[in-house]
Amino acid sequence: MAKSKKEKNQAISKEKLLHMHKLMCDIRNFDDKVNYMVKRGQVPGMTHFSVGEEAANVGAVAALSDGDFITSNHRGHGQTIAMEIDLNEMMAEIMGKATGTCKGKGGSMHIADLDKGNLGANGIVGGGMGIAIGAALTQKMKKTGKVVICFFGDGAVNEGSFHETLNMASIWKLPVIFYSINNLYGISTPISKVINIDYNYKRAASYGIPGHFIEDGNDLLAVYEKFVELVDYVRAGNGPVLVESITYRWYGHSTSDPGKYRTKAEVDEWKKKDPILKYKNDLISKGLATAEELDAINAKSMESVEASVKFAMESPEPSLESAYEDIFAD
């Protein structure tokens, strides 16, 4: 996570530029690998992938500082990796192992590390929004200066919880960024079929808060710069904002998805807009990094993903007794 909120006004350090690349590679490689394993029946449960949405995730989280929070959703791998949750523990979790982030009890849809500010992926569409405003209320009441990013999809914007929580956050001026990653579909349903306006960020007006738009959610620096601005705004006590970025998921909605609702041509078109490739070309053309540097990072990322699989494979299954623990706090 970024350490300084002033960064917007400075040049971004090379270290940070490369680190963001690493995180995007991690997401891509991690989810490619999980998808590979899903196809071979090596992953026991439901998963949702962030491939194609790397920039939309990394750019947002990169604008946070230590101690800030996120809430995430079913498609949480991207956010979670961006929050620097350990890949080994994530892979172990997805494989249901005792060493996983959630001891194998949560799985892909619930990867979280509460100690690291990740208040949970959430299997319920719209289910994390209340948690996000509550976390923001704590920051406000305790005057911590910390902020929350609440991640959700385009489909989630029609849940009642969206309406209620944006309104409450607005009237209480809570430090929360509502962030809709618009990948054009909720499962099979195109967003255009389920809202009667062009973009959802415009709904911010209903709550008297600013609505922001990131037209190219595959442009990491655009996402990052917008989020630096928004984090500043929110941290300064101005109340919440709603922001929407446009991106695309390359894989099916979840583990099994015949994909009849979109054409191969459309998917291919979007694959051309690969956020990682774009970022790479960007950095190279601006002379900020070399292809070799970037490829080396990717190679290392692939290694760490392979290592995470090894870690997960070698990790023990949770004991049967462990199923009966962790229900109540003392």
């Binding site: 026991p44 449960g45 192992k97 619930h110 029609n158 009642g160 909720g186 499962i187 199923a323």
Partner: protein, 333 residues
Amino acid sequence: MKNETKVMSVRDAIIMAMSEEMRRDENVFLMGEDVGIFGGDFGTSVGMLEEFGEERIRDTPISENAISGCAIGAAMTGMRPIVDVTFMDFIVYMMDNIVNQAAKTRYMFGGKGQVPVVFRAAAGSGVGAAAQHSQSLEAWFTHIPGLKVVAPGTPADVKGILKSAIRDNNTVIFLEYKAQFNMKGEVPLDPDFTIPLGKAELKREGKDVTVVTYGRMLERVLKAADEVREAEGVSVEVVDLRTLMPLDKDAILDSVKKTGRVLLVNDAHKTGGFIGEIAAMIAESDAFDYLDGRILRLAADDIPVPYNARLETAMLPDVDRIKKYILKLVNKR
């Protein structure tokens, strides 16, 4: 077609039941998230969009409150909606509409109006979907006067009960099990085939022990019953409720009076589950006086459903545990 049957999956039985009823009555329609081109989260409406079109196979936004409320309002004014809830866990967002509206409308309004909606909810664990996607919440609804609740356990029963639910003039919560969409069995092809709500079926007749069950656990109970009969000569009577509300108390009590021993099995959390109600109903009835032993329950353990497959499996009654409990009742172990 009258007496023909065909082997098909629960999924296909659901599609067949809905399709037949939609052909029969133009007021019947299906609504829910991704029921159209996607064919339903569990494939339970594959092909229906092609036959019935977008008006009657109605994709919705992710708005469970509006979905359920809309269905109820449509039902109050003459339609007969079927709602695909998909994962039963999402019914949390429909509670006002189901419990405060649909269940009470007719009563509050002094006998006017009716709310013929079927909420099809995919219940239970078994697909590695973890705590928020694996619940069997029928006990919430059996507690609310004004609702019917059904949970058939074979493809044929699924077809017959679903058709009756669609024809019923009340709100029906219909449980289908994620783990069993691919379960196969003979299904009558007759479009007039229905199974009345409120009638349990003796899936096995027996004299030593009564096992009362429904839904997902029926398969395991039948297997256990057959195995203990085979191996130990214990004659088990299996009462398959199919309908939880209205409850066929007589079928249960008659069987208990006959055998004097009873085991109750379902896949919901044990504490507060519907089989507790059955135990209580037996214990306060005259069948109590016929009991030769405790009323035993086997249900899911009282823990959120874990992701790990081994843990997920372990928290549910399996055939072995069911057998063990049956034998315990007849003092064979």
